[in-house]
Symmetry: D2
Subunit: 373 residues, 4 copies
């Protein structure tokens, strides 16, 4: 995967779903980005025609003010025309509209990076966690070729569900070092921000745990195999970890935490004897990803996986903002009496688990020369 | 296990550690009990000599006032003499003193029912979850016989760690129906009340998950085998599930919940093929225990295991007080892609997980004729 | 106010808004009531025709199961016909529909006890806090007489906003003892359950205070004068404390508490010199209300105002369930350097602050002979 | 108040109480400071002799790692000798030891800036909120002169209690514009971080409000007059707002919020007629302080008071980190039916309410030429 030789400057981008939780996060990150520049915003028909600060009034839930670059941008409906000048489209749309809207933007020759679930299972749509499988972006030319009519520039890339993202980073590190995993058991304790706004009613979650999140366990179990798997030999789709089926069992819970998904994970290797906890620790600490080098994209964390030494870490409140939430935290690596090794994973669901992943995916696609600037 | 034919009346009991969290709960429950009567209270030297309401001033954390039966009882130091008139001693002592104090009370011919961990691993001390293994109380005569000098009436019975208690109730139901389990994986999300008072600092747990509780995983993994196991053929100790080793893997977390431990559980049976989720559901719903019948002790829940139908239950805030917290809640029974079946368990850590267990154990021991009234 | 000589038995009642938060509470309380019996339930058109347990599926948020008496009742639309057999109608309707629906039920000769705000400011509708101003119910005959056509049995009685209810109980005790108050300043810290379900999004209130509740300060400031005032000499309306204007200043806040509104209150008396804090304490402790005697209605608390001695009480979590939430808690009575005396009030917003008040109002109206049974 | 003409560079500072909550915050801020440099750390005898990262292990509760500048500094006991090279001493000591230790450091000719309460009421010790009364620092020479023996360089300056700090900033703006205030009523809703670590037990504050904080109301009521008052004509002490006595009435509450004290405030002016809410708003927005200009100290906020327009702001979670917590937030300015005007104040109790104030006070004292560098 060769990086492009020049850093781009001043890349105009559009944000769909700009008034929602993920959209706000896109705007906040893009306002600080070294080369992305906010060019157009899209939201529901209700918001269209208003300046952004009015459209989002009473719903801006970030702890910093609305960026100047966004305040007075006029919000458009989510149709391609007003976004013509955008080299990149970031989609923070809700799943009830994301599917069709994103398809329309692709058809209009836009490079769409989506946080929505709608296209994740498409056989030719890369589902990319930027610290894990940027090589899947190489399917983009084929994706374009099979559209009708075939496209020159347009494509869709999705990033993973927030609870999947944290999990697959250490898993990929382990597979690279020790070969295919045989089984993974994971219990998640997920933050309320993962449900968007208004999201979880306070009466449902204060002083409580809700041991169910609709569709979440299925996503975690299915997406993991797509992300950790490869591309078929004929280069036309993803192999879903086919050469060595991976059993994943998830139990997903909502807990009264604002931000940061904590997951207890146990893994079984196919390799016998399996690596020791100490070997696993060294492997995770040493893990680096293409986003760091050779691609060196600006949103990549310095350290992809931070392994905590303290016995009671990682914790969401203390560790979620480390590296602006772009890395993954792991701790408590120890033997599992049932599978092989168990540990704790913490990732920031609104950073690497959402908008930061889309942005890093776009940075990577640019570095790989896949975006027409 | 034959029940005694008469219900006792007016059984005088003492409470050790009376000013602590578990002690307060003992007092609250005993004040409402059909035949136990508060007779003597013990606490630290600092409290000794004061009426209870003064000793506990500023530390009474129950949502009902101090019971009249306790208000003016003079608190004693935790030595046997002032407790002579007590037929039963309930110990809510902290682990740093419980070991020696409880031994001294046994030596003074007291029937001690302890919530502390100190004697749980003693080879002749029953570790009893009242809905699971009251048959272990039959080791009491042997326990007496090996004391030096041998005892006539004194003994110690312990109940289990709060996170173990919720787990072993459905596990025992499954083993009774389908034979020995092979493996159990459990992730706990434990309430702050499990740590006593002052316990967990608010700065550590608000908006947070702490993925570590000192010693908890070891307790969960070890106690499960003692409780689910039997008694050796020679009747001198417990077999620790020896005939079919049970692998238990626990990951214990503290979450911002006041009361009620939620646990995600996956099990593997030795029986192949294993029972289906639907069979597991029927088995759990049908489960009854000796405390219900034939013993019919007063604190036994009407239903030992309540199986929820709603997809998002059980939840600690909504379900922890059902049946005064004396039963166990189970929900979301489904296939596990890695082991066989997975489900969610919720139990009230301050009721069945602590004082209620000790009290039910005492009721059972009385019903079995093991206590000298 | 003479009580009726006989206790009624088996009074059929209807509940409007039965699937909502207040409606659920009505149902829970009525199922345990000595003489009210659930006869008919009303909810939105969407729920109509279904048995209650299906209509409320996924929305039942009480900590006890749906009462048997309600489970299989068929839910009706909120029109008078199916409620013909009801002697009492309790309304837990939302404000957007309560006004017209309640008027229609009155017109159909129903005795309506409403928790909604819509009719509270009607000049002939009693706004009754049962521990404070049941004498206002004497306007019911006049209310009937001015309807068109005049009614024989129908009327509407409202209870107060949840944050008003807690405040006016100690205030009325003080006015009875020391004459009119001159000024009241109150800052509320209100529980999320006051906002209904789904109500406050968790993202808005976890780790947060929201210093604004729409319309709440106006309600608190206006309702207080209506409730503490009397009836005009000609018996046709309420005098709104006219003989001695009462200035009330409120600052209302939402805090992350499930149940129980805490209020810091400072008062200034017209009487100079004002009573001392010790006199205020004795007055509040000694306060009794007509609901207790001579009316002796079943939902009246044993003690209308419980004055706490501990320096850090009342607290919502510890004190909200005292007397099933039917009384009011006061603590920290001390001098105010600006007004005269200040103290803390805690009341249960879902009990005395909502359904319990409606029910007690109905009990009182029956005891006063104002309801046709 | 003339600013010094040169910005200092590389000022060595010491931190007492370095392992505590306030000490950690000092270290975090100093590590990022343009001219302060960590030189020596002091803590209890238990920590002395260890490198800082070991002394603070398990107690570092900041969301960023321990700064490199502090990690390996050896912690000393809190005696002056090892701090000889420090030009400034910041004290985050607990009140039980701060009094004597700070006096000893002053005697050893150190410039001590303390966050502890012990010396706040000393007649010659400035109690300085940096946005309000830096002019009080002019009493430093007199403070030195009356020590025995008189000092050349040593002095103590304290900053205010965290709940006082937020309040006095808008109050001073109002007094500057409209003359002395007559009365202030304030109800606080204070974050748990104000109580240090371990501080408030989670069992006491989750799902709860505690309407009492020991000594807090007295501090708020007394400190306000010292800070808003001036210096006596003979220049030997503070006049405590003597020319126009100010009545302050406080009701202090702990709420389940991590950081940020919210206060509802009502004020009465001596000026009649009083200013309108709109005038108050303009006055607060226009307020600037000496720390901003002419002194231009580096930690001063760009805007001393930020007046929110949204009806439901300020809120602690959303607004506490604005300007790194160095300013004060005000909102909801409106008429008060009892006093004149009421509003909401939010300040960051661990920033401007604690360490940030000490640091800004030191910056100001340096700018005023009162510290020997």
């Amino acid at each position: 995967m060769a990086g492009s030789s020049v850093t781009p400057t001043n890349v105009p981008v559009g944000v769909l779903g700009a008034t929602g939780t993920v959209g706000q996060r896109f705007i906040k990150l893009i306002a600080l980005h070294p080369y992305f520049r906010l060019h157009a915003l899209g939201a529901s028909a209700r918001s269209a025609g208003q300046p952004y600060h009015k459209a989002v009034a009473g719903r801006w839930k970030q702890t910093t003010p609305i960026p100047q670059a966004a305040r007075d941008l006029i919000v458009h409906a989510c149709v391609p025309e007003p976004f013509q000048g955008c080299a990149i489209i970031f989609s923070g749309l809700d799943a009830d509209v994301a599917g069709d809207v994103e398809s329309a933007f692709r058809r209009a020759e836009h490079a769409v990076f989506s946080n929505a679930k709608n296209h994740r299972r498409d056989p030719q749509t890369p589902l990319v966690v930027p610290l894990v499988n940027p090589s899947h972006l190489s399917l983009i030319p084929y994706q374009r070729s099979i559209q009708s009519p075939p496209l020159q520039k347009g494509f869709i890339v999705t990033n993973a569900n927030c609870s999947t993202t944290g999990l697959v980073v250490p898993l990929t590190a382990l597979e690279k070092a020790y070969g295919p995993l045989d089984a993974v058991m994971v219990t998640t304790m997920q933050a309320i921000s993962g449900a968007g706004y208004p999201g979880v009613p306070s009466l449902d979650i204060m002083d409580n745990v809700v041991p169910y999140i609709g569709g979440e366990e299925e996503k975690l179990e299915w997406e993991t195999s797509k992300i950790l798997g490869g591309i078929t030999l004929d280069g036309t789709t993803f192999d879903l970890h086919a050469e060595s089926p991976l059993r994943v069992s998830a139990a997903c819970n909502r807990v009264p935490v604002m931000e940061g998904h904590t997951e207890t994970v146990s893994v079984r290797f196919t390799k016998r004897p399996p690596p020791t906890p100490q070997q696993v620790r060294e492997t995770l600490e040493a893990f680096t990803c293409a986003a760091q080098a050779p691609l060196c994209v600006p949103s990549a964390p310095k350290q992809a996986i931070f392994v905590h030494e303290e016995i009671d870490r990682p914790q969401p409140r203390l560790d979620r903002d480390f590296q602006n939430g772009a890395g993954v935290n792991v701790g408590r690596i120890r033997e599992c009496p049932v599978l092989d090794v168990k540990f704790v994973v913490l990732s920031n669901n609104v950073a690497i688990g959402a908008a930061t992943s889309s942005i890093m995916n776009a940075e990577i696609a640019i570095a790989m020369g896949l975006v027409s600037l």
